[in-house]
């Protein structure tokens, strides 16, 4: 698993990357009340705002970690956004992206580096 400085976790399986947010991010956000997901089939570029998460405090964005196409979204989050707090590293993944450039995954931190990053 890889991690971004925006506190996303990325799990790659071949050229498909599953994207969620870390436990640390979910704690910082507070209770999540709304998740806006992209449409399946959307082409995204690394760094694009792809998901909006609204917590009791504020709205924040999840960025596309790599270039590619959104091939699946976690529709259960629409009815149960609280999953982002209860199971951020598991059930509460946001989307799967089929990347056109797997080498972009090399830009990201491994678990030890991420732990150092959040202190």
């Amino acid at each position: 698993m890889k991690f971004t400085e925006e506190h996303e976790w990325l799990r790659a399986d071949g050229d498909v990357v599953v994207v969620g947010i870390t436990e640390h991010a979910s704690e910082q956000l507070g209770d999540v009340v709304f998740v806006e997901l992209p449409e399946v089939g959307t082409q995204v570029t690394k760094g694009d705002d792809t998901v909006v998460i609204e917590s009791v405090k504020a709205a924040s964005d999840i960025l596309a970690p790599v270039d590619g196409e959104i091939i699946e979204i976690n529709e259960t989050l629409a009815d149960d956004p609280g999953k982002v707090n209860s199971d951020p590293m598991g059930d509460a993944w946001f989307f799967k992206i089929k990347t056109s450039d797997p080498s972009q995954m090399e830009d990201y931190m491994d678990e030890d580096a991420y732990k150092d990053f959040i202190g």
Binding site: G30, D31, F34, V56, K57
Partner: protein
């Protein structure tokens, strides 16, 4: 930065309870505890929540000739009937400016031979200066040696009765000075959540022990500013500096109910407060805009600053959201904001622009959750 922030007498207790602290109105205040905003909110509606509101200003207004003289003096600053306020009763009030705008909102209690006033933290210096300048013949005393706690929720009465049996006889908006193991307590049956509950002023030196005695009950959880905000918004209550300010009049703000008949046109003490011509004229003929409740149709909250439109595309903004959040009890987003009076009817469909998209939102009745007061 943090060393310039003021601390309430409960500051050490907040840290011990694991609160996340934030700067608010010049104070270092708990925004949430480990329970989190959502559960703190729901707990308050189901059981009881304890809030530290010691940052708010507590002021005693006294005149040599007793209550009526002090009440008459303060009526020159607020459009409220204070001469008609019974002893042991409290009433909501508004300081107006010469344009009829709102300088602050406040609670005013008739206590024996004087008035006890509670004002917003961010406005308290200005309010005290305003009263000292405007209340001739009155002594305006800021009470700096007392903390203020709020115990709110359906279980608040049962909890407080254990410490203060006399509160059982109080009803909504009653005030009383009661002796206790924690010294003299100044109690009002009121709050800022839409629930039954109490606000209790306690000497600084006794505040922590009193708070611990309340928190010792399983029904009581400490509640931070985050849940305080979502609770008051569900209850349809204004937050000064957001939903009301010096540019909004009481009529525009849908606070006309706070202006009793005796202060309106034709009343025995009509007018006589700053901006009375503007406010009384609007009471007769209406204002061009009005604060309303708003319920977004989708799940995305429409937060403060969201522009409102009367059509799904094009056109110009007709109003703006002044407070918006997710309501944990209603399980849906909620907002309040100002719209043209002709669009203020309940059920009117408007559109709020969220992240560049127009999203449908309906004008809705407030409070969003039914009030649960002990009348």
């Amino acid at each position: 930065m943090s060393d310039t922030l003021r601390r309430t007498p409960l500051h050490a207790l907040h840290l011990e309870l694991g609160a996340k602290m934030v700067p608010f109105a010049g104070y270092d205040m708990p925004v949430q505890y480990p329970l989190g905003v959502m559960k703190e909110h729901l707990h308050t509606r189901a059981d009881a929540g304890l809030f530290d509101v010691s940052h708010m200003g507590q002021v005693i207004v006294r005149a040599h000739d007793g209550y009526d003289a002090a009440a008459r003096a303060l009526e020159a600053l607020v459009p409220v009937d204070l001469l008609g306020l019974g002893a042991g009763r409290q009433r909501y009030g508004i300081f107006t400016n010469e344009a009829g705008g709102i300088l602050d909102d406040l609670m005013i209690a008739h206590r024996d031979d004087h008035l006890f006033v509670v004002v917003n933290a961010a406005c308290k210096e200005a309010d005290i200066a305003h009263m000292r300048a405007g209340l001739t013949g009155c002594e305006v005393e800021e009470i700096a040696d007392r903390a203020l706690l709020a115990l709110q929720g359906p279980r608040a009465e049962a909890v407080l009765i254990g410490l203060l049996p006399d509160v059982a006889g109080m009803r909504f908006m009653d005030v009383a000075v009661l002796d206790s193991d924690h010294g003299e307590l100044w109690v009002s049956r009121s709050g800022y959540t839409g629930e039954d509950g109490f606000e209790i002023s306690v000497a600084n030196d006794n505040a922590e022990a009193f708070a611990r005695a309340l928190l010792a009950h399983d029904e009581v959880e400490p509640i931070g500013l985050g849940a305080r905000d979502s609770l008051r918004l569900e209850a349809g209550l204004c937050l000064y500096g957001h939903d009301i300010d010096s540019t909004t009049t009481p009529v525009e703000a849908a606070l006309s109910w706070a202006i009793q008949k005796v202060r309106r046109n034709g009343g025995a003490r009509s007018g006589g407060f700053p901006g009375a011509e503007v406010v009384l004229e609007q009471l007769e003929n209406g204002a061009s805009r009005r604060r309303v409740g708003l319920r977004p149709e989708a799940r995305a909250p429409m937060r403060e600053g969201t522009e409102l439109y009367d059509q799904a595309e094009g056109g110009v903004s007709v109003g703006r959201v002044t407070s918006g959040a997710f309501g944990p009890t209603i399980g849906a987003p909620m907002s309040m904001g100002y719209v043209p009076s002709e669009m203020a009817e309940t059920g009117t469909m408007l559109y709020g622009e969220v992240r560049g998209k127009r999203m449908p939102v309906k004008v809705a009745k407030m409070p969003f959750t039914p009030a649960n007061f002990k009348r």
